[in-house]
Each structure stands twice: as C-alpha cells, then as structure tokens.
C-alpha cells in the first residue's frame, strides 16, 4: 500500500464522522522504485491532504517532506522528487490502519489493506431475511441439537459434492448450472442449505 492510497482511505465504520486520516501501525515498509511523472504529481498535489502525507511518511521514518507545502513548490525538482518518493515509492507491506475515532484496526497484509467490516459495523441487508428461515428454537435441547447435526451433515455433503463438481466442470458451465438450478427447481434444496447456514 502506497501513501497515495493511505491519503485516499478513511474509516468506513457506521457512525464515524472523523475517519481521516487513518493512523498507521508499521510492521514492515518496503521501497520500490517508480518512474517519476511530474504531470501526475502536479495534478495530484491539490487532491492530497498534505499533513496526512507528512505524518504518514514520518511513521515510515522518512523526514524529508516540508511541514507546509503550496503549489509554487511544484516548480522545484527537489520537491517533486521528495513528494514522489513519499507518495509512491514507500509501501506499507505489513501492519495496520487504525480508525482515529474508534480505534478499530484494519490489517494490512502483503501490502493489501482489508477494509471489510463485520455486520454490526455496517448496514447489511440480506442477513435478516435469512434468519426468518431459522428452525424454531428447540423445546428439548437434545433433539434440537440432533436436528442441527443432521442438517449440518446434509449441507456438508452438498458442499462436498459441489466442490468435487467444481473441479470437474469449467467455471462457465458451473455458473450456468447453478443459474439453471436456481431458476428451474423448486426452492426446496437451496432452502435446506440456507437453514443450516444460519444455524452454524
């Protein structure tokens, strides 16, 4: 992850108003040489939150950027080179991004930030619908458990068969068959699978 990307990312958690900039937790930084394009830098300069870039580059141990910058500096080759280096050549390979408001940690692994949220952190639509097909809570715990186990076994078997099929079929055919199945068959089988999915 380049600092360009860090400068474009904010915390996406529901309810957070001040999600920028994300704090950086550094485990490993790598440097990769990138061809300098003055046109790109000149164009990007006005879109960059300068202080966030300076602070982020400090956390990477790079202290060459001036605290303040304005567009007139873009005529200086020296400035362009430093701006280029901080923005594009330093990568966070391992570490994390921290939401400044909630402290939520977004891991960065193999240079890829993971901004995926849990259900309770964002507005999800499909899950509630699923829950309505839940089996009623069992009166006798033992029986309920057996039923769940049976369903579990059933669905594992279905998934097992599906996996083997996947290997045999091309992805294209596989997609089509699933589409066909969903559109022609009664909803009985998929529903059973769903039933298990929300109990597990």
């Amino acid at each position: 992850m380049r600092l360009l990307t860090h400068n474009m990312l904010s915390s996406n958690i529901k309810g957070v108003t001040n999600g920028f900039p994300l704090r950086i937790e550094v485990e490993k930084v790598v440097e990769k040489q990138v061809d300098l394009s003055p046109a790109f830098l000149r164009n990007m300069f006005s879109k960059i939150e300068w202080k966030a870039l300076v602070d982020a580059s400090h956390s990477f141990g790079y202290a060459e950027l001036p605290e303040q910058a304005d567009a007139s500096m873009l005529d200086s080759e020296d400035f362009l080179r430093k701006f280029h280096h901080a923005l594009l050549e330093l990568h966070l390979e391992e570490g994390a991004l921290i939401c400044p408001e909630t402290g939520r940690r977004f891991p960065v692994s193999k240079g890829i930030p993971n901004m995926l949220l849990h259900e309770d952190e964002c507005i999800m639509m499909t899950v509630d619908k699923l829950k309505t097909t839940d089996p009623p809570s069992p009166q006798i715990p033992g029986i309920g458990l057996a039923r769940e186990k049976a369903l579990d076994g059933y669905s594992k078997a279905v998934e097992g068969i599906a996996k083997v099929k996947m290997k045999i079929m091309s992805k294209r055919k596989q997609k089509f068959i699933i589409w066909l199945a969903r559109n022609t068959k009664s909803s009985r089988e998929p529903q059973q699978v769903n039933l298990e999915r929300c109990t597990s």
Binding site: M8, V34, F40, F106, L116, L117, M124, T126, R172, P190
Partner: protein, 218 residues
Amino acid sequence: MPFRTAQIRLVSSHSEVYEPCDDSFALVDALLADRSKLIEHKPKLCMEVGCGSGYVITSLALLLGQESHGVHYFATDINPHAVRVTRETLEAHGVHAELISTDIASGLEKRLAGLVDVMVVNPPYVPTPEDEVGREGITSAWAGGEDGRSVIDRILPVVDNLLSGKGWLYLVTLESNHPLQLCLQMRERGYASRIVLQRSTDEESLHIIKFWRDSDRQ
C-alpha cells in the same frame, strides 16, 4: 508490437477466485477496441471494482502504461483471496495497482470522489436468490440476486460518485440484467451510454456498456 493484454498462463488462480471467462474476455476486448480513445483520454487514475483474478486490471495497465505515463490504478474485491491473486497476476506481468479488500469502494468514497477517470466493472450479474448475494468466497463472484441486479444497483451510485468530470465506466451486463433500463437509469444521473460490445455465447448474451457524462463530448 501487438497490443499486449494479460497472458492467461501468467494469471494466478485460487479455488475460491473467479477465473477469467467469456465475460472477462469480452470486457478486455471492449477495452482493446477502445484503446486509442482511452489513450487520448489521458486518464490519471483508473479503477476496477471486483478484480477477481486480476486479468482485467492487468490488461488495462498493459494497454495504458504505468507510472511513467502518469497513470495509476486501484482495484478492489470483496473476496480477500481474489485481491491476493490479483497482486500475483499484476506482479507476473510487471505492472502495479493499489489493492484494497473492501465492499465495492467502501473506505475510498470520501477522498477518491471525483478522481477516477476510467472505471471497469465485471460485476456478479447472474440472477440468483437474493440470499446468495455477498456470500463468502466464490459464490459472490456471480450471485447477482433478482435479475442479477443486486450488486450492480449498489455499484452504480458509488461509481457515479467516484468518476471525475471526464470519467468513463465500462460495465459488463447480461441480457437478463435489463441493460436498456440500466442505461435509462444512468441517463437520469446525467450519463450517456453506448453498448460497445455485444457477444452471445451458448449460455448467455453479454453486453459491455460504456457510460460517460453527457456534458463531456467524446
């Protein structure tokens, strides 16, 4: 030298990641056909939502060139395996894109708004029951809910927000997604559109639609 796109033998794979298929090839063919216009367009930031194996974003990067041309790339996918596979595919071709595991462009929407000049999307478009949408792993690669539109309908407003004044969107759709209706909906958001490629396979009829803001004369 012929125009290069990603080489299938260099595209990385994983059991949970969508492999390049007819739809991926159709999208890259549409980009190839538009290559000279894309180069004239001089995009600075390009982006793919739902990058899967990385076949499309790698091809785009090979078509338009890298940093020395002043072009930068972003790609996202909701499936973290896909994003890692994309990284391998990009590296195998010696090109770079900034990658993020996220839902559509969540986390980028505030700061990247209005900055993307070219967006490419091959969404999960297969009509499926609604509760299949957004599942973990490979299912999310194709499950598109009712009319295959669930994810597409969530992506379009995000794309509208991210695209720059001169921004273009290339979108893969299926006949059953009602492409004409999609064009009319985007019309209301101020976009003109054209079907740049239509291809029927044994199983489906694919349309690649290009959208651009109506004020921007092509």
